[in-house]
């Protein structure tokens, strides 16, 4: 991770030093390779180079296809051998208002303008459909930035003959396409250009000199936004916030000033600033981001502050509240462990530069935004794109509840002497079945997000998942787990490939939120039954080590498999012969019963 590439970055420096940055970034271990096609309606060279840097910084190593100058439509519609050979994992279409070929005339009637709009729109829609048919992969499409001049002055926006109006309507049509296409994403250059300053963004110098649709210095901002969408699609979003209290969530120091004197609420300007920041965080929470507190405070003082009547966030909004005097880096590492998350899934939010520095050094991968003025806190978190939303599943909405239930479960666990008694008391019920259309997006999301309890770390797109489900060469299983505290949703995914009467388990993963619940045994029992139905008597398991999946190194041994081979890199192959029978391993979870016990 390179701090030079973290928001707020110096775009000019990135442009200038890109070669040495690239060299350093390529030296990182465990990069995830992704094939990315850039189809451009204008020059894309620098966009590609800078996008590469941001992706490398997210641990993604791109293999690019770049269309020849302005050939985006031709490459998509009439095929391109090089593009076809690449088999892209994702396609980015970089077009701009320079690619709109006709605008309304001042004399046009409403109907003529509607027809023109439809024609401009269809030019894009046919291309998206063709790409979908040909490549079945996610597509990122720029919307359009506003024109840099206004023939109708201020009426350009409201008059249907104005270009601004026309572009706004065209964008709206793009968004309508999004509604029914789960794997289609808009890169909002309309927002980016206005945020950057349209006047500079659209400087005609760069178009006429080099055929860039935006100015050179805005390229890092554009590329950063595209990188954020890509990393989100491939499951590399942040998941949780660890928030400081004093001068972060409220103004003042609760231990010194007393809860009643904190700056919070509508009475003062500073109070309003903190209230607005809390409302912003509350909005993130509603999208499934986990809120936590790490504060250097006596617990009772922290709780007194959190109980302040003007707090937007209530104590119940937080999954974990750590208020103590231990180093924050230690608290963060411990918190990650307790929530079964990776430390790098956290964003550490603290106004104190010294605390930020410790976390930067001690907790590699955790994001540490620069929080230097309370009135700019929202910028610092928002513009960094930590939580860029692409796959919004129902699970995201419920995530906070699930983690809160987990905290209750650990409280219950402490009251049982025997672990099996504890598991039985959870009254677990699992649904373990072949992939079902209802869960495809969640299954694809899991293959991209679960890195720890994952034997082969094979990533899938939703299309890949659907293809496996439809083929009789595969046995697919998803596992959904409920218990007396609530529904955990789909938490485990297995794909086995049948060849020569054997089953090769090419994917086995489980969400860490259900560790030590015997769900992996319930999954294996069902998989063995499915093999039995197909007269398969030999199961082969594979473990490919990565920096993150050490916890499942001995997984197959635990499942009763025998190790067949191991190579120099530690890749192991295991097998289980079930021709002489198989003893069920799960005794605590009820599986696939019509009615579950409530």
């Amino acid at each position: 991770m390179m701090w030079e590439l973290e928001y707020p970055f110096d775009g000019k420096m990135i442009m200038r030093k890109r070669k040495s940055f690239r060299r350093k970034l390529l030296g990182q271990p465990n990069l995830m390779e992704k094939k990315i096609a850039i189809l451009g309606g204008s020059t894309t060279h620098d966009i590609k180079e800078i996008l590469e840097l941001f992706l490398l910084n997210y641990g993604i190593k791109p293999i690019f296809f770049e269309s020849e100058y302005a050939q985006y439509w031709q490459d998509a519609m009439f095929g391109n051998e090089e593009l076809a050979a690449l088999k892209p994992d994702i396609i980015y279409i970089h077009t701009s208002n320079r690619n709109i070929t006709a605008y309304p005339e001042i004399t046009d009637k409403a109907e003529e303008i509607d027809n023109l709009l439809e024609r401009q729109y269809l030019h894009f829609e046919v291309m998206w459909k063709k790409l979908e048919e040909e490549y079945h992969c996610p597509v990122i499409q720029n919307n359009f930035e506003h024109p840099y001049f206004r023939l109708l002055g201020n009426q350009d926006a409201s008059n249907p003959r104005g270009r601004t109006n026309f572009i706004t309507r065209l964008n709206q049509k793009f968004y309508e396409y999004v509604v029914n296409h789960e794997k289609f994403f808009i890169n909002d250059i309309n927002y980016q250009s206005s945020d950057y300053g349209l006047r500079e963004w659209a400087d005609p110098f760069f178009w006429h000199m080099y055929k860039y649709s935006l100015c050179q210095d805005a390229i890092p901002m554009l590329a950063f936004n595209v990188a954020n969408i890509i990393k989100s699609v491939f499951g590399k979003n942040k998941k949780a916030l660890a928030l400081d209290l004093d001068n972060t969530l409220w103004g003042g120091i609760v231990g010194d000033d007393g809860a009643e004197n904190l700056e919070l609420g509508q009475e003062t300007s500073m109070g309003q600033v903190y209230t607005e920041f809390q409302s912003y965080l509350k909005g993130l929470q509603a999208q499934g981001v986990l809120l936590n507190v790490i504060s250097k405070n006596e617990k009772e003082n922290a709780m007194a502050g959190l109980g302040h009547p003007q707090m937007v966030l209530k104590p119940d909004d937080f999954i974990e509240i750590k208020a103590n005097w231990e180093p924050k880096s230690m608290n963060l590492t411990q918190m990650a462990e307790e929530l079964a998350l990776l430390p790098e899934s956290f964003v550490f939010v603290d106004d104190n530069p010294a605390e930020r520095e410790i976390v930067k050094q001690q907790v590699p991968g955790a994001a540490v935004p620069v929080m230097d003025k309370a009135e700019h806190y929202v910028y610092a978190v928002d513009r960094a794109g930590y939580f860029e939303m692409t796959n919004f599943s129902k699970d995201d909405l419920k995530r906070n509840d699930m983690y809160r239930e987990n905290v209750k479960r650990s409280a219950l666990q402490n009251s049982f002497a025997n672990y099996e008694d504890y598991l039985l008391s959870l009254k677990m019920y699992a649904e373990i079945k072949p992939f079902d259309p209802m869960y495809m997006s969640r299954i694809a999301q899991l293959t991209n997000k679960s890195n720890q309890f994952n034997l082969t770390t094979k990533h899938y797109t939703q299309d890949g998942i659907e293809q496996a489900a439809a083929s009789d060469k595969y046995i697919t299983l998803y596992g959904k787990l409920e218990d007396c505290f609530g529904d955990n949703g789909v938490v485990s995914v297995v794909i086995g490939e049948i060849s020569n009467g054997e089953l090769n388990i090419i994917l086995w993963l489980m969400s860490c939120r259900v560790l030590k619940r015997d769900m992996e045994f319930a999954m294996m029992d069902t998989l063995v039954q499915e093999c039995g139905k197909r007269k398969i008597s030999l199961l082969k398991g594979y473990y490919y080590p990565t920096a993150k999946n050490g916890m499942v190194k001995e997984f197959y041994k635990m499942q009763g498999f025998v190790k067949v081979s191991e190579d120099e890199e530690g890749n192991t192959v295991w097998q289980l012969d079930i021709s002489q029978g198989y003893e069920l391993k799960n005794h605590v979870i009820k599986v696939n019963e019509g009615e579950k016990e409530k």
Partner: protein, 80 residues
């Protein structure tokens, strides 16, 4: 700013952009002398120069650049 001072800063820019620590430049240096100096990296070079000296080139001036000497002339005229 005198030419010597301009050359000092400009050399730094060249070294960053082409990622080579030992690049040296003189009035006669052209794109042919530096391996990675093509029309695409030229764009980065120009914006980095603008940034380094706090100046903006106009289109006409940029199009006339033949070699490093001409670039230094242009910088000299722009930084007063």
């Amino acid at each position: 700013m005198n030419r010597e001072k301009i050359y000092e800063k400009l050399t730094e820019v060249f070294r960053d952009v082409f990622d080579e620590e030992d690049i040296t430049i003189s009035d006669g240096t052209t794109a042919a002398d530096i391996e990675d100096w093509d029309s695409l990296s030229h764009i980065t070079l120009l914006s980095s120069v603008e940034d380094e000296f706090g100046i903006k080139f106009d289109m006409k001036a940029v199009q006339g650049l033949k070699n490093v000497g001409a670039m230094v002339d242009l910088i000299e005229a722009s930084v007063k």
